[in-house]
Amino acid sequence: MRLIIKDSYADVAQYTAEYVLARITEFNPTPARPFVLGLPTGSSPVGVYKKLVAFHREGMLSFKHVITFNMDEYVHLPRDHPESYHSFMWENLFKHVDILPQNVNILDGNAKDLETECTEYEAKIAAVGGIELFLGGIGPDGHIAFNEPGSSLSSRTRIKTLAYETIIANSRFFDGDVNKVPKLALTVGVGTVMDAREVLIIISGAGKALALAKCIEEGVNHMWTVSAIQLHPRGMIVCDEDATLELHVKTVKYFKSIEKVHSLLTTEGSKVGLDGKVRYSAGSK
C-alpha cells in the first residue's frame, strides 16, 4: 500500500486528478478496450472532479472510452432529486465532460427488484472486464461506500441499512428533517472494491485522522472497513497533513521517505512505470 501525504486538500485533489489523468493516458483506452473507473461521491472527490473537468477542458483528458461505475445510491429517492447520487455525479462531472451516457453505471435505487439490480451490477462489472481503478473516500468511522462498521470484508453489492449517525449527518441536505432522509442504500461491497485492479482512497481533514490511523496501523478489521486495503496488491491512499494527526510519527516519516524515492524514479523515461512495474525499455508500457 502506498500512502501519499500532501500538504492540503487542494494538493490532494491535484495529485489524485493528475494520477487519474496519467493512468488513463497511459492506458490509452479504445472502444474495444475501455478504461473502467470506479467513482465515489461525497465531499472528498469534489475537488478531484473539478480538476478532472479542467483537464478535460484543456483537451488533456477525454472520457469517450471511459466506463464508470459508482459506489452507491439511495433507495427510493427519485433520480432527479437534488440529493440523489445521480444528481451529484451529473452536477460535478458528467455535465462537463464528454462521457457517453451508456458508459455510465450507477445503481438504480428505484428498481423493481433491488437484489437483482445488485447482482446485475456485479455482472456488469465483470462483463466489462473488471474495474481498472477504483477511487474512493472514507467516512469518519472508517467505512468505504456505505459499508458501515460490521460489514463483511468479502461483501458484494447489496442493500444496506444506513446507520442512525449517517442519517443524522445526511439530514442537513434534506431540510434538517431526519424523516426525509433515505434509510436504505445500495452499495458496492468491500469485496467488490478490493476486486478492482487498483484502489485509490482520498482522505482529507482532521475528522478522518482516527479512521486513517485505525485502517493502516492496526489490523484488518470489519469495524474499520477500509482496512481491507491492507490485503490489496495495489492500494493507494492520498491524504493531507491534517489526516495524519493520529498516525505515529514513524509511519508518516516512513511513507514520506518512500514517496521521495518513488518520485525520483518516476520521471520521464524512467525505469519504473506509473503502475509500479519495471520497464525494460524506455517508454514501453
Partner: protein
C-alpha cells in the same frame, strides 16, 4: 451427468478432446460446439461448468438431486435455439436455487456463477458463493443463477397487427443541441457553469435526458476566453428571451395604422430579434372602433410561434376607456367612458372580446392579452368585472392613463385588475395623503383575494427619474416589469431601410427631439408640443438602466424583462423561464465589465450577442 460421475476424479475426456489439460478448463467437453480457446469464459454456452477437479461427463443437467431445486436449462446450443432462448452481453439472473452446501464439487460444476467470470480478471475471488460453498453442511443459502441466455418470452395470444411501415415506425428524432460552459438564469437565479439542452423547439432537462441515454447532436461550447491585460471575461449568461408587453410600433411602423398593420407586424417581429425580444404584445392606442375591427383580426391571425421572428402573444389595447386629462399622446376625440359597462367593451373591441366567441378559451388563446382602462370612469368597474368573468386569466386588465385615487385603484384590484400600465406616466401622482395607483405598491390593506399588481416601468431615463424608479423597485421588486412603450420612431437610424417622412402614433403625429443637457438621449413628443409620446428605448437599454438606477444585478434586471411579464400574462412555464418544456427562446448576453474572478464588474455593460427562437439561432 450420470451418477457414476460422483466418485470419479480422473479426467475422462482425454480422448474426446485430445488434450487433458485443456479438458480441465473447458466446460462441456462432451458437446462439440464447446471446444474452443481455453480460458475464455464466454467461449461456451454460458453455463460455466469449469471444474478444477473433474470435468463433467455429459452436459445433461436433468439429473434429479433432491437436495436442490433444479433449474432447467437446455445446455445444448441446438436445444436453446429451438426453444427460443436469447443471448445477451450481460449475464442476467434467470433464477435462484436454495442449497444446503452438501457437496461443493457439485456446486462448482453445475452453475454458472460469478466466480467463473472473475477467474479471468484477477486472482482474488472473494465471492459470497465461495464462502457458501466451503461452509459446513447444514448451511443454507440462495444462490442466483446467472446466464447470458435469457429465457424465451412467454407465448402471447396471436394478435393480428400490421407491422408499421419503415418510415412510420420511428419518429424522426429532433435534433438535440447542447450549450455548455455558460451561466444560466434558472427560475430567477444564476446557475454558474451550467449546460442547456434543447430538443426541437423546446428546452429539455439535461440530467434526465443524459440518464435516459440521449446525447446531443450539436455542442456549442462557450468556454472562457482571456481578455487582454490578464482580465478574465465572465462566462456568457443565457437568459430567457425578453418579453415586451407594450410596443406601439417600431422601425417606422405603427400598429394603429389599420392599412398596413400586417406589414407592420412582420417587420417589427423580425426587427425586434436583435434586441433579444422574443415575445411581445403589439399595443394599439386609442382609436375608433373601426380601427380595432380591422387591426385585431390581423393580430389574432399572426400570433403564436413563428420561425425566425419574435412571437406575437396577443394585443395590448390601451384605450379608448381612459381619462381625458391623462391621455398622454392619445386622441382626445376618441376617448370616452364605458358607460354601459361590459357592453361598451364588446361594442368597441368587437368579436374578440365577446364571451360567446372564445372557442380558443380552453387553450388560453385569447387574441387580446391586456386591456388598459381607467377605473374611475363611469361604468369602468362593471367593465373590468365583465372582462374577468368572461375571460378569467386570459385577459389581463391593467390600470393606466387614469386620475384614479388610491381607493379607486384598490377597487379596481377587487374587480379583477392585476397590472398597472407604465407606472408614474399618465396617472395621478403620488400625494402623501392620496398615493393614487402608485400607493398600491406598498399597500398592506388590499382587498381579500387580491395581490399587489405588476407594474410596467419605462426605464429610458426620460419617462421617470432614476430615483422614482428606485423607489418603485424597493417597494415591490417582484412586480417590477420592464416595458419599452416604443413607437414608430424607435429603431430608425441613418441605415434603416424604411424611413417614413412622417411618424405617427395612431392619429397623432410624433417627432423625435433631443433631450436638453444630454445630446445622446432623445425623446419623442407629439409634434409641436412637449407631451411625451412613448419612447425610443430598446429592451437591452432598459435592462442596463435598471441595473444602474435600482442597484440590482443583471439577473434581477433580466427577471424584470422575462419572468415578471411572463407571470403577469400567465404564460410562465412556456415563456420567461428556462426549464423542461419551455419554448427554446433565449438570448446569450456577453458581459463586458468584469475585472477579475472576485469581482462581477459593472453588470450594466453587456450586449445581446446571440438569440435563439424556437430552438433555432436567429441572430448572431
Amino acid at each position: 451427468m450420470d451418477s457414476s460421475r460422483k466418485a470419479s476424479t480422473k479426467p475422462q475426456q482425454k480422448n474426446k478432446n485430445g488434450n487433458s489439460l485443456l479438458a480441465r478448463f473447458l466446460g462441456h467437453p462432451a458437446s462439440s460446439d464447446n471446444v474452443q480457446q481455453h480460458g475464455a469464459v464466454d467461449a461456451h454456452d454460458g453455463i460455466g461448468l469449469r471444474s478444477h477437479k473433474t470435468p463433467p461427463e455429459s452436459d445433461d443437467l436433468a439429473v434429479d438431486r433432491t437436495a436442490y431445486k433444479r433449474f432447467n436449462f437446455p445446455t445444448n446450443e441446438q436445444q436453446r435455439r429451438n426453444e427460443g432462448w436469447q443471448q445477451s452481453s450481460v449475464p442476467k439472473t434467470i433464477g435462484r436455487i436454495n442449497t444446503s452446501a452438501v457437496d461443493d464439487t457439485l456446486m462448482r460444476n453445475e452453475f454458472y456463477n460469478l466466480r467463473d467470470v472473475s477467474l479471468t480478471i484477477g486472482s482474488r475471488n472473494r465471492l459470497a458463493t465461495d464462502n457458501m460453498v466451503t461452509n459446513k453442511q447444514g448451511y443454507s443459502h440462495q444462490i442466483p443463477i446467472l446466464s447470458k441466455y435469457c429465457p424465451p418470452p412467454p407465448l402471447l395470444p396471436a394478435a393480428v397487427t400490421t407491422p408499421p411501415s419503415p418510415t412510420e415506425s420511428l419518429p424522426t428524432r429532433e435534433k438535440i443541441t447542447q450549450l455548455k460552459q455558460c451561466d444560466i438564469i434558472r427560475d430567477g437565479k444564476l446557475v454558474c457553469d451550467d449546460t442547456l439542452w434543447i430538443r426541437g423547439s423546446k428546452i429539455i432537462d439535461a440530467k434526465t435526458a443524459f440518464y435516459e441515454g440521449l446525447q446531443p447532436d450539436e455542442v456549442i461550447d462557450f468556454g472562457e476566453i482571456e481578455v487582454g491585460g490578464g482580465r478574465r471575461r465572465r462566462r456568457p449568461i443565457i437568459a430567457p428571451g425578453f418579453i415586451d408587453a407594450q410596443i406601439n410600433g417600431y422601425f417606422g411602423w405603427d400598429f394603429a395604422d389599420s392599412e398596413r398593420i400586417s406589414e407592420a407586424l412582420d417587420h417589427v417581429s423580425k426587427g425586434l430579434v436583435k434586441y433579444g425580444v422574443t415575445s411581445f404584445c403589439p399595443t394599439v392606442v386609442t382609436s375608433l372602433p373601426d380601427t380595432y375591427h380591422k387591426v385585431l383580426p390581423t393580430i389574432a391571425e399572426k400570433r403564436g410561434p413563428q420561425k425566425g421572428q419574435a412571437e406575437i402573444l396577443g394585443a395590448h389595447i390601451e384605450g379608448p376607456f381612459i381619462s381625458v386629462t391623462k391621455k398622454g399622446a392619445h386622441n382626445n376625440e376618441y376617448i370616452h367612458a364605458p358607460v354601459n359597462g361590459f357592453q361598451d367593451i364588446v361594442q368597441v373591441y368587437g368579436k374578440f372580446v365577446e364571451p360567446l366567441s372564445h372557442d380558443d378559451s380552453a387553450n388560453n388563446n385569447s387574441a387580446i392579452k391586456i386591456i388598459t382602462i381607467a377605473p374611475e370612469l363611469e361604468g369602468a368597474y362593471e367593465a373590468i368585472k365583465g372582462i374577468r368573468d368572461a375571460w378569467g386569466d386570459q385577459i389581463v386588465v391593467s390600470i393606466g392613463h387614469t386620475e384614479a385615487t388610491y381607493e379607486n385603484a384598490k377597487k379596481a384590484l377587487e374587480c379583477g385588475a392585476t397590472m398597472v400600465t407604465h407606472l408614474f406616466n399618465a396617472m395621478s401622482p403620488f400625494h402623501h395623503r392620496d398615493p393614487g395607483p402608485v400607493g398600491l405598491l406598498s399597500a398592506e390593506d388590499l382587498p381579500p383575494g387580491t395581490r399587489k399588481p405588476t407594474f410596467g416601468i419605462i426605464a429610458d431615463g426620460v419617462h421617470a427619474s432614476p430615483s422614482s424608479i428606485r423607489v418603485a423597485y424597493k417597494s415591490h421588486p417582484d412586480g417590477f416589469m420592464l416595458v419599452t412603450d416604443a413607437l414608430a420612431a424607435a429603431g430608425i437610424n441613418s441605415s434603416s431601410p424604411y424611413k417614413p417622412t412622417e411618424l405617427t402614433l395612431g392619429s397623432m403625429s410624433i417627432t423625435r427631439v433631443p433631450v436638453a443637457n444630454n445630446s445622446d438621449a432623445t425623446r419623442v413628443v407629439i409634434t409641436g408640443t412637449d407631451t411625451l409620446a412613448g419612447s425610443v428605448a430598446t429592451m437591452p437599454e432598459c435592462i442596463a438602466n435598471m441595473v444602474k438606477f435600482c442597484g440590482c444585478g443583471i439577473v434581477d434586471a433580466v427577471n424584470a424583462a422575462t419572468a415578471v411579464p411572463a407571470k403577469a400574462l400567465n404564460i410562465y412555464g412556456r415563456k420567461g423561464v428556462l426549464r423542461d418544456g419551455a419554448d427554446a427562446d433565449f438570448v446569450v448576453l456577453n458581459l463586458g465589465g468584469a475585472a477579475d474572478e472576485n469581482d462581477d464588474g459593472d453588470e450594466s455593460i453587456f450586449n445581446v450577442s446571440r438569440v435563439w427562437i424556437g430552438g433555432e439561432e436567429v441572430f448572431f
